[in-house]
Symmetry: C2
Subunit: 712 residues, 2 copies
């Protein structure tokens, strides 16, 4: 055990070395920069990497002016990272040598592995073994590798670095696709984004996207994490990594693809990675405050904004505009993003109105074109927004002033420089047309600049999302498994047995008694109290109502006796072979809001809990939401509020609010039960679970529990 934990810590230390390597060897090094193996050395020499670079080549001699070693085991020191760029058939041998040389990590460019066929899969298994045995972390194979902008460490062959280097900053970029990773990198460079580590993970024999997020969450140099994900392999670690990032106030911006059937198919042929259902990913992102980008452009917009670290304290947005129309556009967009536009205090409105008689001064403040003739008006407007208005975000629309050939542009930039010097606590966003150099100048002052006002507001919305998510307390501990909980058996369960199992797991279920003859049924009904329901009990009958196996609203003993006989007759007629265990007698419950709780075994995330409202909400609108189990009561509350029909639980047309607290406890309890039975549980349908009036709790009416392996 001690050995294992020291291996885990070594593994984590080695991962850190991979992200910021202080010494680098290249297996397959060459003088010919057209070759992949030559490029890392070439780029590092160009870029000014300060650590030792060790070319490895069986011929020895010098490579690109550096002393080359014939074998990695001859190096004077164990290196932080080795780049391996040799044909697939030599990779296992090379990786073995690296592990023997105690290299902390290896980046394998070579393709020809699982993406090609069986021999490649075998080699990948061997590589995985080497990583596990030695603790050396392996990236790839079939990947584009990594760089660290700060140190200019290069473990990639991407020709991007032949032309320019990204600015140094706190944004780390992780990609499961090399080409998309390179594309994002260049998009970021074109925008002047400050980058930290860039890494692409290829076939993920060892280091996967979750490891990378986890490492970035720990890395003091990383402020913002950007990840392109096709499919995760270590869901638990991914969730932990997301939570670590959130608690460190590091925004995680994810582009998750493969939602479409066609997309998912392409993802499979592309990385052979297993894509979980998109709805589950979406739920996990919401659960951990991850921002799901809608496009690469959106991803970089939000990353750039996050790099300012100006997460607004509140949703109060102030708008200053030289055009009323642009103010309307921005106001509409603000509403879409749940931003508030409180008016300026009356005294401030009066001051501005005195300065600009034709202006609108509430919020948006529309200075009209007057401002273009008197930049000091602009200064005063911004001062008022920041000092008196107390807005946490300020959007300023400057139209085409940025393209002006007159002195006005210089005046405006001067004022923006002065304002920036006061270190305003607000997120400062400009929407304007301007030349690229003006944009860079303003960005360097801490402003975000977008041509399109909707895009500007979208980014402010994203910043507020993170603000809210960072404020949320750490993920709580789920409740303990009920003391009376039993394990899910391996045999099929009748409805009655399923209900008992869930009741013992702490879920409130309608009480009931199985009666084997009409007289027993009548007696049970007397004990329970009328009206009652009778249902056939048989593990072999699935659709009880369809065969006449259910009778509702039985008001007296005579009705119960008659119903018992009718049900048994109908069941015998419908399924003569089925074993009939009698009828379940249960109270007739009326009222309450119908909900559906479920558990499903996701191939990636394991047990996943579903919640939805009953009836048309599920059947027509598919209005459901998910969470990976287990989760705490607070998360259950968030989950409940995600469905569109949530209003049903708040009370419709004068009906009382439902007992949402009890529902949340039940959801959380169900998730704990599901997690405790990961290996034996295929699925649960608790449908309906009635949510009674506030304070009255919930009660499950029907339950199906399917043990794993019994599902047919």
């Amino acid at each position: 055990m001690a050995q294992r934990s020291s291996r885990v810590s070594a593994s984590s230390e080695n991962l850190a070395a991979l992200f910021d390597p202080k010494s680098i060897a290249v297996v397959g090094a060459s003088d010919d920069v057209a070759k992949f193996g030559a490029r890392p050395i070439h780029f590092m020499l160009q870029g000014g990497y300060q650590g030792p670079i060790y070319p490895i080549n069986p011929k020895g001699g010098t490579i690109q002016g550096l002393n080359a070693y014939r074998d990695i085991r001859e190096l004077p020191e164990p290196v932080d990272m080795v780049v391996i760029s040799v044909p697939a058939k030599h990779v296992v041998e090379a990786a073995t040598a690296c592990a023997e040389a105690k290299a902390k990590s290896a980046v394998i460019f070579s393709s020809g592995f699982a993406e090609v066929g069986d021999q490649g899969t075998l080699w990948q298994d061997q590589l995985r073994g080497i990583a596990l045995d030695s603790g050396m972390r392996i990236v790839g194979p079939n990947c584009m590798g990594m760089t660290n902008s700060a140190s200019r460490a290069v473990g990639t062959f991407s020709s991007v670095f032949a032309q320019a280097w990204p600015e140094v900053g706190g944004i780390s970029v992780i990609s499961q696709s090399g080409a998309v990773g390179a594309y994002m990198l260049v998009m970021g460079m074109e925008r002047g984004l400050g980058l930290r580590t860039w890494i692409t993970t290829g076939n993920e024999v060892d280091v996967d996207v979750s490891d990378c997020v986890a490492q970035c969450a720990e890395d003091p140099g990383t402020d913002v994490i950007v990840a392109y994900i096709e499919g995760a392999k270590k869901p638990d670690q991914m969730r932990r990594a997301f939570e670590t990032a959130r608690l460190s106030r590091k925004p995680v911006i994810v582009m998750k693809v493969g939602a479409s059937d066609v997309g998912a198919e392409a993802a499979n042929t592309h990385t052979a990675s297993l894509a979980g259902a998109d709805a589950i990913y979406d739920a996990v992102f919401r659960q951990y405050g991850v921002y799901r980008a809608t496009s690469l452009e959106n991803m970089l917009d939000v990353a750039q904004a996050c790099a300012t670290k100006q997460f607004p304290q509140t949703r109060k947005l102030g708008i200053v505009t030289v055009s009323g129309g642009a103010g309307v556009i921005a106001s509409d967009a603000a509403e879409d993003h749940n931003l508030d536009l409180p008016p300026l205090p009356a005294s401030a409105q009066k001051e501005l109105k005195d300065l600009m008689p034709f202006a609108a001064v509430r919020n948006p403040v529309d200075t009209t074109a007057q401002m273009a003739n008197d930049p000091q008006l602009f200064r005063r407007n911004l001062e008022v927004m920041l000092e008196v208005g107390g807005y946490d975000s300020v959007l300023t629309f400057l139209a085409t002033i940025g393209l002006s050939a007159t002195h006005i542009l210089g005046d405006i930039i001067g004022i923006l420089r002065d304002i920036a010097k006061t270190k305003p606590k607000a997120l400062m966003v400009l929407s304007m047309l301007c030349r690229p150099d003006t944009k860079r100048e303003l960005e360097a002052l801490g402003y975000l600049v977008y041509e399109d006002p909707n895009r500007a507001i979208g980014v402010i919305g994203a910043m507020n999302y993170f603000s809210d998510e960072f404020r949320r307390p750490p993920e709580g501990t789920p409740p303990a498994l009920a003391a009376t909980a039993r394990a899910v058996p391996s045999q099929p369960l009748t409805e009655h047995e399923a209900a008992d199992l869930l009741r013992d797991a702490g879920i409130s279920m309608v009480p009931g008694k199985v009666a084997t003859n009409a007289e027993d049924a009548a007696q049970a009904a007397e004990a329970i109290g009328f009206p009652v329901v009778l249902k056939i009990v048989s593990a072999e009958i699935q659709h009880k109502s369809d065969i006449g196996g259910v009778k509702l609203n039985l008001a007296d003993a005579a009705a119960v006796r008659g119903a018992f006989d009718d049900i048994m007759t109908a069941a015998r007629a419908a399924q003569p072979e089925a074993q009939l265990d009698g009828c379940l007698v249960a109270p007739m419950i009326s009222g309450g809001v119908e909900t559906i709780l479920g558990v499903n075994r996701d191939p990636l995330f394991g047990p996943v809990v579903l919640f939805g409202l009953g009836g048309v909400f599920v059947e027509v609108l598919k209005d459901v939401t998910f969470r990976a189990a287990p989760f705490d009561v607070a998360e259950a509350h968030r989950m409940i509020r995600e469905v569109k029909g949530y209003g049903m639980l708040e009370g419709v047309r004068g009906s009382k609010p439902a007992d949402v607290d009890a529902l949340a406890h039940t959801l959380s309890q169900l998730s704990v039960f599901a997690a405790a039975n990961t290996d034996t549980l295929e699925g649960i349908d608790l449908n309906p679970l009635l949510v009674l009036d506030e304070g009255q709790g919930v009660v499950g009416v029907d339950a199906v529990v399917i043990p794993r392996g019994s599902e047919g």
Copy 2:
């Protein structure tokens, strides 16, 4: 009548003159280009406008080298357009002179009208009178005016034209905001868009946004119409203009703002225009195939694409990519936009696989990085997509090749040029990073180029939207008003009277008979057939159920008699002052899908018809849709399919499909009745209207009709 129709045709001819003026006068002309009145002349002289330009200035002499006239009435000819740039108090006088000089149109820059106060409103009324009396079309006041890129006619003071001229093309831009109009113009110029007429409408005393859309729809030089709208004033004309554009296959791309409360407020202070409810606008846009842009950026993206006129015949999209990841991104986006990704024929797949053993060749075709080393592979791929695949849109992802410093970029451009020469019938879209000059070069060849793959797919989706909308037949004639239809009376109606009124208007309603005593009620029930429903009849009792005024499911005569007495007693107890007219006896209807039909008087669009599914769909989910009345049955069908709960009508859980045809007929008939009673009808609630099984029709159960003026 002849006089009126000749005035209408003169008015329409004068509008055409405004959009493409062959002679221009400027009232308030000056030598000082800092002044608004000097700028149109200055810009036209710079731009090379070929028609006569007449400066008007009481001092006479020459202005900017042109002979100046002291009075517009001294001009040698009536001009197509006069620009008026004088202080507000002189504008009415100037406009009067222009009308006397038989100017066809006038553009009034001057501010200080309705946006300022009562005197300004009075002046506006006078200007409206001048326009009506003379037929001279007036743009503004308080507007930024217009330009025509082709002729370089200028009726604007916008400094945009001091720096550059837009490219000449077929995109006309209309804006209710001068500043937003100018911003859109510059955004378009930065993208190299080919523009036709650009016009901003200001206070819209005469020419409004609907006139402008209508004129562009008729203008042979306009291919694409882009409009920024805060609020329309002539809804019927707007609808006709949209339909004219659609039938001429001219895409209309609208950014409609003022949806937010705050936004609507700002719109009011800005242009004093009346904004209708956003949901109604949205419905009108859908009804006439208008594309509602989500941002200015999106608006210009779509306009640029439309200018290619390559509207795809089908939704079949082919994707060629050098990166599997980008293929997944594009596939996901394609699904979001309802685009199809049919696989290549097997033979084509085989051919490509032979060429590129490591490629995915289905669709998306992922050529892998191999293509970057062999551009002829790229050529063959595109050829196969176009010739064999038969895709109507082809997206090609080229990563960062556009930034490549090597020969590869030239090779690729050469191939794209060759392909363009074959005049492919497909919409050709590229997603890549490239320098601005490369982008322009490719755009000139007919390719659309977007950095972001999601944005590229979004544009393909928009092009398919237009394709579908252009294919739709012309708006049909609504059915005739039922021969038995009566006018809505001015007095409040009981439920029974409302039902009779609707029945006579051709709406199927539950039959019923009013009984004034228990015995009559029982006899009526016998005649109708059991079970029946009894409801109190009183114009003064609104919530019948709440006071015990409704009894359901009465199975025999005795039950009916008892219920009659109970209802009358309860009603007397609850509202002793109310006049009770007896009880309505109606059949108890069961089954059918509950829907809600309604009519509401919109301050802008007049009678508007609502459709929704009953119960939670309306009450919790607000799942309703609208149409301006009247509309034909085909439009009603489209309306029905817009609600999220439409699946309810298709049959849920084995229930039969509902009679959607009958529902559509009823909606259309209701819209005709509403339109025929525009002046007298405040609203209708037909709730529920039950839609029975296919072939069984519909039946309205409860109806409320509120005559206008009787609602308070």
